[in-house]
């Protein structure tokens, strides 16, 4: 299978920088969330308890560029606490979610103003002085990352700390991560590291570990991989991630063609109806 050959590969361009987020190392401390907010001067969200696990953020949004999801694995259907632990961790899965900086990004292709650009680090950034708040990038992202801010009405998302990268620093979240669950570096190197780590995990008995964001999983429909990818130990849906996301713009040409065909048919009907009225 061609798809299988693509496992553990990345479609990243030369020089691409990205994140490897290893969820098996995440302890759910939320230092990444805080560091991100602090460095990027993002306003706090409407604070409150969500009532769902330890997640008090909810999801990624205009003011939350890192979001730690907490998933408690309750394996029997009666809802009781499980009594046996997985080989490497507790029964909590924690994922520090972030913009994937897709190799082919839906948000960027959708943007009608050219506000969303690809930087020299191959990351995807929204230029705030260009964005006119049309909001088309918001539903065009298969991962639900960009969102319109309610204060300035522009779209916002993770910049992979473009300003820090420019100065040779690593992004704030990776810098703050105490367990190195968030690693920053050139994408091919990170992918190599991820493959080794997955092998290691398999040897430790965590056979469910895999890379989310390689070409086989994160780029089936033309996304061609993610520059920010993850090591997961459960199906993507458990982490609120789509299993095999697709680049929405792959549908543009076929959809225009089908619409043109319909226009042709209706045009023919209109011609038949209106020609030479006598």
């Amino acid at each position: 299978m061609a798809a299988d050959l693509r496992v553990g590969t990345t479609g990243a361009r030369p020089g691409a920088m990205g994140f490897l987020t290893d969820t098996t190392l995440c302890i759910g401390c939320k230092a990444c969330e805080v560091a991100c907010k602090q460095w990027n001067q993002l306003p706090m969200d409407n604070f409150g308890f969500t009532g769902m696990s330890y997640d008090n953020t909810g999801d990624l949004g205009a003011t939350t560029w890192r979001h730690v999801a907490f998933i408690e694995r309750i394996d029997d259907h009666t809802g009781r606490r499980p009594v046996k632990l997985q080989p490497f961790q507790s029964n909590w899965l924690m994922l520090s979610d972030v913009c994937k900086h897709c190799v082919y990004a839906g948000c960027m292709e959708a943007c009608p103003t050219g506000a969303i650009i690809r930087t020299e680090f191959d990351t995807v950034v929204i230029q705030q002085d260009i964005c006119n708040g049309c909001g088309y990038c918001v539903p065009a992202c298969p991962f639900g990352v960009p969102e319109l801010s309610l204060t300035d009405r522009k779209a916002h998302k993770c910049t992979l700390c473009y300003d820090r990268l420019k100065d040779g620093l690593e992004p704030a979240c990776a810098k703050a991560c105490p367990t190195d669950a968030i690693q920053f570096g050139p994408v091919p190197q990170l992918m190599e590291r991820a493959r080794k780590r997955v092998e290691e995990l398999h040897q430790q008995g965590v056979t469910s570990a895999y890379i989310y964001g390689d070409r086989a999983v994160g780029g089936t429909g033309g996304i061609e991989g993610l520059n920010a990818f993850f090591i997961l130990t459960a199906p993507p849906e458990v982490y609120n991630l789509p299993a095999q996301p697709e680049l929405p713009q792959r549908r543009v040409l076929p959809a225009f063609l089908s619409t043109a065909a319909a226009a042709l048919a209706l045009g023919l009907a209109a011609w038949r109806a209106l020609r030479g009225v006598k």
Binding site: N46, G114, N132, N240, P248, L266
Partner: protein, 340 residues
């Protein structure tokens, strides 16, 4: 630090409530994708754009192929196209988060972004609709008889501008379906191939309905012409009905859920019955009969067709929002083997 006080936290009002099982099998029912912020103004833009585009198409076809007798139709269709397109740019700009930056839309042309193409298409369609209406106004003496403006209008090549407007008019009435399809929203994405044709058919039926009634009331138009227009409307209505049913079938049980339940389910029922089935039956029953009752029925059917054009766009838009808020729909769409 500044607090963003939105009343509710942003994920809270999107969290799956009614889908029950989905909330248990997903991440606490939090939608994995963000829905579009588009509201009624966008649906109205879709509707008016469709009406303007389809009227433009009818005006051009009647002008190019219709001969002398189609002149009243050409006149009305050109004016209707112009009037319907007037509010369109304002609705589009009103909907922007930062309307004062509308001109940023004109920085680039992006062929893979239907939003970018749409803006340019709207400009082209507005230009051709204005030219056509201008020429018509000059012919009708609305610009005066000997004024320079009238002289300028009469010098416009009539058939050439009619031919010129066919492309942009078709584009304007159909591209919005492509625009919705090129997103990650399950209901729209799943039906990317159907939405454009569906919007086209709906636009054509609306324009035919509006024009045939206007012709009956205002125009010195021959009855055969009106009957031909009504036949075209029937074709468009039947195609629309078929496409809408096909859309629902293709979506599958999970993704089509918003079309079948709750308030949107009622909109869909009303659309299928009163908006499509009823006008088609009226057409078939009343046919070309004359008299007060058939006339009244035809007018009612026209109103229903026009209302259904708006209802269709409301339905597709808000059902898309609902499907984006349903984690299960997104997950089902993103599993291999469930693509269109």
């Amino acid at each position: 630090m500044m607090t963003v006080d939105t009343g509710v936290r942003r994920w809270e009002h999107r969290r799956a409530r009614s889908v029950g099982e989905a909330a248990a099998t997903s991440y606490y029912g939090v939608p994995p994708i963000h829905k579009a912020h588009w509201r009624w103004s966008v649906a109205l833009y879709f509707f008016l754009g469709g009406l303007a585009g389809a009227s433009g198409v009818i005006a051009s076809f009647a002008r190019l192929f219709g001969g002398r007798e189609a002149r009243p139709l050409v006149r009305l269709a050109r004016y209707l196209s112009f009037i319907a397109i007037l509010p369109a740019p304002f609705l589009l700009i009103y909907d922007l988060g930062r309307p004062e930056r509308f001109h940023h839309m004109l920085r680039v042309v992006k062929f893979r972004s239907p939003m970018s193409l749409g803006v340019w298409g709207l400009i082209a369609a507005s230009a051709t609709a204005t030219l056509n209406a201008f020429r018509q106004a000059a012919d009708d003496g609305m610009l005066g008889q000997r004024t320079p403006l009238a002289a300028l209008g009469r010098r416009l090549p009539d058939r050439a501008i009619a031919a010129l407007s066919v492309g942009p008019s078709f584009f304007l009435s159909g591209y919005t379906g492509v625009l919705l399809g090129a997103t990650a929203v399950p209901l729209w994405a799943k039906n990317a191939l159907l939405l454009g044709p569906l919007f086209l058919c709906s636009a054509l039926s609306n324009a035919c309905a509006a024009l045939s009634v206007l012709l009956r009331r205002l125009g010195p138009a021959s009855l055969p012409l009106i009957h031909r227009l009504e036949r075209l409307e029937r074709v468009a209505l039947v195609s629309e009905l078929i496409l809408l049913v096909a859309l629902e079938q293709q979506s599958g049980p999970v993704i089509a859920r918003p079309l079948r339940t709750g308030r949107l389910g009622r909109v869909r029922n009303a659309l299928l019955s009163a908006g499509l089935a009823l006008p088609i039956s009226v057409h078939l029953l009343v046919g070309q009969r004359r008299g007060r009752l058939p006339e009244a029925l035809r007018h009612i059917a026209t109103l229903f067709v026009l209302a259904s054009g708006f209802a269709l766009r409301i339905l597709i838009l808000f059902a898309g929002h609902a499907s984006a808020d349903d984690p299960e729909a997104t997950f089902v769409f993103n599993r291999r083997g469930s693509r269109p």
